[in-house]
């Protein structure tokens, strides 16, 4: 449910910051699923995976925010549709 919420946010929102937040929500949804599964079958693996996801999310946010900053400098807006220079 939380994952679907993230996907919906990703598709509907135009603002790049909100898109990044939606991605965070999706990641956390996956993490929550791991934790739940780990506690259901009494295994430590779920928690290990969550720590991985946490570390990855930190890296992802730093790269993502840097890209957003660059895009903002170039386009003077945070609209995702404004960055359509790759149009074929």
């Amino acid at each position: 449910m939380l994952f679907a919420l993230g996907v919906a946010g990703l598709l509907v929102r135009r603002n790049l910051l909100f898109i990044l937040m939606s991605i965070e929500i999706m990641l956390n949804a996956a993490g929550l699923a791991f934790i739940t599964a780990g506690s259901r079958w009494a295994q430590a693996d779920g928690q290990v995976m969550f720590i991985f996801i946490l570390a990855m999310a930190a890296a992802e946010v730093s790269v993502g925010l840097a890209l957003v900053l660059q895009l903002y400098h170039q386009n003077e807006s945070l609209d995702a549709d404004a960055a359509s220079g790759m149009k074929g």
Binding site: V7, I19, A80, D81, S84, G85, M86, K87, G88
Partner: protein, 630 residues
């Protein structure tokens, strides 16, 4: 020492690779050292091999070095192997030495302008191919070298490729020689299917065993080989490419179109002489082609304006002499003339290059004049080279080789009076056109100031070639004076001796005397028309008949025109008529289909990030659905 043989073709090939890959990024000095040094090394090794061959000749007069097997398929094997006998030894020595001289000359001649490394790369590749051709022990390897020199010829004629005319000349040379090459290839197939080998010596042996003299197969096979030789050696009827090949740099003309490549045809016939001896009618055709070519080209040379074209026609005409000699069975005389011709024709082209460079790329000899004092090297080079070409009696190399051909044409069982007279008329024409050139270029009024004088790397090759043009004839002193035929004796281990007939009234000395008188007559005519009374020459060329003949000879007897109407135009017409056939429709269909798919797919590439994300999501959902519900 003979075991060093494989180095002779390999060194220039290695240097070609170096020049092609690393050369453009190094200095011009390094390029010159590698480009010229490789050929110098080649020459030194050839000299060593010659020395050891003469000191202790190998058994049966030949030496074979097998490197590895190239192709081995079901009973057919072709080896990379080199075969050395007196014939290939002399050819190899002359080719590598003359190439070295010309490379040294080009190191200075080509210094200005771009493409220095490219030029030496092509030249080295050419030498490698030519030596492969000469040393090959089977016809397939020979064919590889044969095509290699064709390719290098194409590359070097079109060396200044920015000019469209040079590209056209290069293509013409390639296509016209291709006609001959095709005949040669068909000849190879025929020989292989009937005799089951391509090894030259084995092939000759089997041919002599299986085919009687005058058998149809021998005639067809030798005629096909003759076709190849005619194309490469620019003989009638495929001679049209050589005059146009003068579009290339002058050292190229000297190396490829005078001294070495065009003699590949002569070599091929000499190499397969057994086959030609089995087919008397083809051999007669060789002699007739040679005689006709030497006369036609001699006439064309009389009326040219471009200094290099005069020399080009004289090359065609001199190779005509070699063919004449081959045709009457005077094998050694043909190779002797090849050697002296390589010396004096290289000399003539090199000094022509000096003249052309000194006068800002001026080719028209009627705009030159009075250069005797300003370019003494060029003048004396032309006098010595020209005299050797025309056969100045007793002291020049050309006299000895040409007289040997004339005498043997007369005395051979397969020769005759008509061929001998054709040869004599050729002598007259030669001496008229070459002294015409010398008188017009070096005497009279000065028209253009000399702007460029040669340095030592140009002067030295000229001096060396001058010396050889004089001394080269003394290796074979005729019966009439001294009788020391060292050269022909050496060749008799590889080539059979001349079959003689009753001489009749003419002896060797008399034949020489007549040739000398003919030469003097030609010199006198040239002196009268082009030095004393230029007005007389102009009035001859001015009257209607003279004009018509002049135009006809100038255009090489209308050959280009004939081929244009006979072959080029019908093909172009057919191509135009057949432009919209179904094969094109098929390929156009493929192109249309591709374009349609491009239009369809282009819409998905719209640059919208969320659209891509949505596509990914949809794709994932569909895949999950497929995985879960099937």
């Amino acid at each position: 020492m003979l075991h060093l043989l494989f180095l002779v073709p390999i060194i220039p090939f290695a240097s070609f690779i170096w020049l092609a890959i690393i050369g453009p990024r190094t200095s011009r000095n390094a390029i010159a050292i590698v480009g010229v040094g490789s050929i110098a090394a080649c020459t030194v090794i050839s000299l060593l091999i010659t020395g050891s061959y003469l000191a202790s000749p190998p058994a049966e007069g030949s030496f074979t070095q097998v490197l590895w097997t190239w192709i081995a398929v079901d009973g057919f094997t072709a080896q990379i192997a080199f075969y050395l006998d007196a014939l290939s030894l002399i050819m190899m020595l002359v080719v590598s030495f003359v190439s070295f001289i010309i490379h040294l000359y080009s190191a200075e001649f080509m210094l200005e302008g771009e493409g220095y490394s490219r030029f030496f790369a092509y030249m080295n590749l050419f030498v490698a191919s030519m030596i492969t051709l000469l040393l090959a022990n089977n016809l397939l390897l020979l064919y590889l070298g044969w095509e290699g020199v064709g390719l290098c010829s194409y590359l070097l004629i079109g060396f200044w490729y920015q000019d469209n005319a040079n590209g056209t000349a290069a293509q013409k040379a390639f296509i016209v020689t291709r006609v001959g090459d095709t005949a040669f290839a068909v000849g190879l197939f025929l020989l292989f299917t009937h005799l089951d080998t391509l090894d030259v010596q084995e092939l000759m042996h089997r041919a002599a065993l299986q085919w009687p003299v005058g058998s149809t197969l021998a005639i067809i096979a030798s005629a096909l080989l003759l076709g190849g030789a005619v194309g490469k050696s620019a003989q009638l009827p495929l001679q049209t490419w050589l005059p146009d090949a003068m579009a290339g740099p002058t050292p190229t003309s000297a190396l490829i179109h005078a001294a070495t490549m065009v003699t590949a045809g002569v070599y091929l016939i000499a190499r397969t002489h057994v086959l030609f001896a089995l087919a008397p009618s083809t051999q007669l055709a060789v002699a007739v082609v040679g005689a006709a070519t030497l006369l036609l080209a001699g006439c064309s040379a009389l009326v040219q304006h471009d200094i290099k074209r005069v020399l080009a026609y004289s090359t065609i005409s001199q190779i005509g002499y070699m063919f004449l000699a081959l045709g009457v069975g005077a094998w050694s005389a043909a190779i002797f003339h090849f050697m002296t011709h390589a010396f004096f024709k290289a000399l003539l082209f090199l000094v022509a290059g000096v003249v052309i460079q000194a006068l800002h790329d001026e080719h028209d000899m009627f705009r030159m004049g009075g250069l005797r004092k300003d370019l003494p090297y060029a003048f004396w080079g032309f006098v010595i080279g020209g005299s050797a070409l025309a056969g100045l009696p007793l002291i020049t190399a050309g006299f000895y080789s040409k007289d040997l051909i004339l005498w043997q044409t007369w005395s051979s069982a397969r020769g005759g009076t008509a061929l001998w007279i054709a040869g004599l008329v050729g002598v007259l024409l030669t001496s008229v056109y070459i002294y015409r050139l010398i008188f017009v270029v070096f005497h009279g009024e000065k028209q253009i100031e000399v702007s460029h004088r040669p340095g030592w790397r140009i002067k030295m090759p000229i001096v060396v070639l001058c010396a050889l043009s004089v001394l080269g004839g003394f290796v074979n002193i005729p019966e009439a004076r001294g009788n020391v035929p060292a050269f022909t004796t050496l060749l008799h281990s590889a080539l059979p001796e001349l079959v003689q007939r009753q001489h009749g009234i003419i002896t060797e000395g008399l034949s020489e005397g007549i040739a000398a008188i003919t030469f003097a007559l030609g010199l006198a005519i040239a002196y009268l028309l082009f030095l004393r009374k230029r007005s007389l020459a102009e009035s001859i060329a001015g009257n209607p008949i003279g004009q018509a003949v002049h135009r006809f000879w100038f255009a090489d007897w209308g050959m280009d025109w004939l081929y244009d109407y006979l072959f080029v135009r019908p093909v172009l017409w057919f191509a135009k008529v057949d432009k919209n056939d179904f094969i094109d429709a098929f390929y156009n269909g493929i192109a249309l289909l591709t374009e349609f798919s491009w239009r369809a797919l282009r819409n998905t590439e719209n640059g919208r990030l969320r659209w891509y994300a949505a596509s990914i999501t949809a794709g994932t959902v569909i895949f999950l659905a497929i995985v879960l519900w099937t």
